[in-house]
């Protein structure tokens, strides 16, 4: 265990220990994964003593700065976030249960490992099955003959942050990088990120939005607490002075290895006005498109046909909620 007090020391320590080390934020995913033998770090670098990585503030340009070590409870309750980024506050408020939201951080949620029913199991369980591609094995139990892991991105805050065009600030041994969250992901369930495990997520920035905005996050799960998403949909709508929509964004998680930002939502919804028939029509078209494009895989709890059927329903509900800024 190491407990550095600056971001520079944290990055230097990880570089020193290389593959043998991992960052520990709230530990609510790292520890279960270590207990299951999925993560086997010899050195754990705790980030809890780095004060610079905590807290939420509004910068002069109106953008929000959220330290990666800010707890999900704080994100969910923050007035700055509930006002400017309701979808993010809602997403943070439905992660796991209260205890985990007190411990778990926004940074840990963004950097969360992908999930799969064949992977998030004890070592004994996985060994009995002959392991799989993502860890210790050579086959995929989900896609027959598959050569690439398709474990599901399951972080609730990711789609919300994508609709808000969040920018992620990383520090790695090669320097600082600011990455639009949309560019973080790649479609590889083994490691679904375009930064290496040696990059420290320092903070999340939400750019200031012009004009009134509405947002919502809806999550499908069996129980109303503790469960990971079986489907998560975030929506954001920006309104012009006359109440018509000028900007729209929709993103979804718990489908495949990466959260997905739906394309051309602005093109479809711009110019329509909630409460009028043009909005209803555009909404139906968008829902049909999403139903075609977004296909859940059969590797997390919840029947995949049912989850697919819920795509347009959850999308419609999310957009209707976002239409009431």
């Amino acid at each position: 265990m190491e407990y550095p007090t600056t971001v520079e020391d944290a990055v230097a320590l990880l570089a020193k220990h290389g593959d043998r080390a991992m960052f520990l934020a709230g530990g609510t995913d790292l520890l279960p994964n270590m207990k299951h033998g999925l993560f086997e770090p010899e050195v754990v670098i705790g980030l809890g003593a780095i004060e610079d990585m905590k807290g939420i503030r509004k910068d002069k340009d109106g953008s929000l700065h959220i330290g990666a070590m800010t707890s999900l409870t704080e994100v969910a309750r923050s007035q700055l976030i509930t006002e400017a980024a309701p979808a993010l506050a809602q997403a943070a408020s439905v992660v796991a249960g209260p205890q985990i939201r007190n411990m778990g951080t926004l940074g840990g949620n963004v950097m969360l490992d992908t999930r799969c029913q064949w992977y998030n199991q004890s070592h004994f369980w996985r060994k009995s099955l002959g392991y799989c591609l993502k860890k210790d094995g050579t086959v995929c139990h989900v896609i027959e003959g598959g050569k690439k892991c398709v474990a599901a991105a399951s972080n609730d805050t990711a789609p919300a942050l994508m609709t808000l065009a969040a920018e992620l600030h990383f520090l790695s041994p090669s320097g600082e990088v600011a990455l639009p969250i949309e560019e973080l992901w790649k479609a590889d369930g083994t490691w679904n990120k375009n930064v290496g495990p040696d990059a420290l997520l320092v903070s999340v920035h939400l750019p200031a939005l012009s004009g009134p905005h509405g947002g919502a996050y809806l999550k499908l799960r069996e129980r109303n607490a503790i469960d990971f998403p079986q489907l998560g949909i975030a929506a954001r709508l920006g309104f012009a002075e006359d109440g018509s929509i000028f900007e729209a964004a929709v993103a979804a998680t718990a489908l495949g290895p990466r959260p997905i930002l739906l394309q051309s939502t602005t093109k479809l919804l711009a110019g329509t006005t909630p409460g009028e028939s043009n909005f209803e029509e555009a909404l139906l078209e968008l829902c049909a498109k999403a139903h075609k494009q977004l296909s859940p895989l059969a590797n997390i709890p919840g029947d995949e046909t049912y989850r697919k059927r819920m795509v347009p329903i959850f999308l419609k509900r999310a957009l209707v909620l976002a239409a009431q800024p």
Binding site: G27, L31, P98, I226
Partner: protein
Amino acid sequence: MRAYRLEVNGDKIEIAAPEHWTLLEVLRYKLGLTGTKQGCDKGDCGACTVLVDGEPELACLLLPGAVEGKKILTIEGLAPAHRCRGGEGADPIQESFDEAGALQCGFCQPGVMLSARALLNREPHPSCEQIADSLSGNLCRCTGYKQIYDAVEAAADKEAELKTQGAD
């Protein structure tokens, strides 16, 4: 082995434990505080709930090094903490759980009562929805929750009454 300085139920303790042990293991197997239950040991059930600086967290997912310098309250410390605040006997939450029959096997109960304590500290008059929400990370396989929610409501009333008596 690693040495930790912890503050548990008001006592400052120095203790050595294997480096991979969680706070839950240190509490149960080094300090003998077996009121904190080891259920799933992976964050699913809430049986290991303790209060860290007043907020419920899961001891099975905490490394002791992460809570050095913080105040840990386990179920063993609940009644003493109540008496430290000038109260008598057990914490009103414990009294109400007893009176409402809010338990069967009791395995979930230490965690549930600590989550309830944190709620009443923050919100002395919680709605039923707030109670359900605050206890949603504590699984109970026996009661069906109804008696638990009733007990928390009764504890809130009891505390309000104690406060008015104190003000007289």
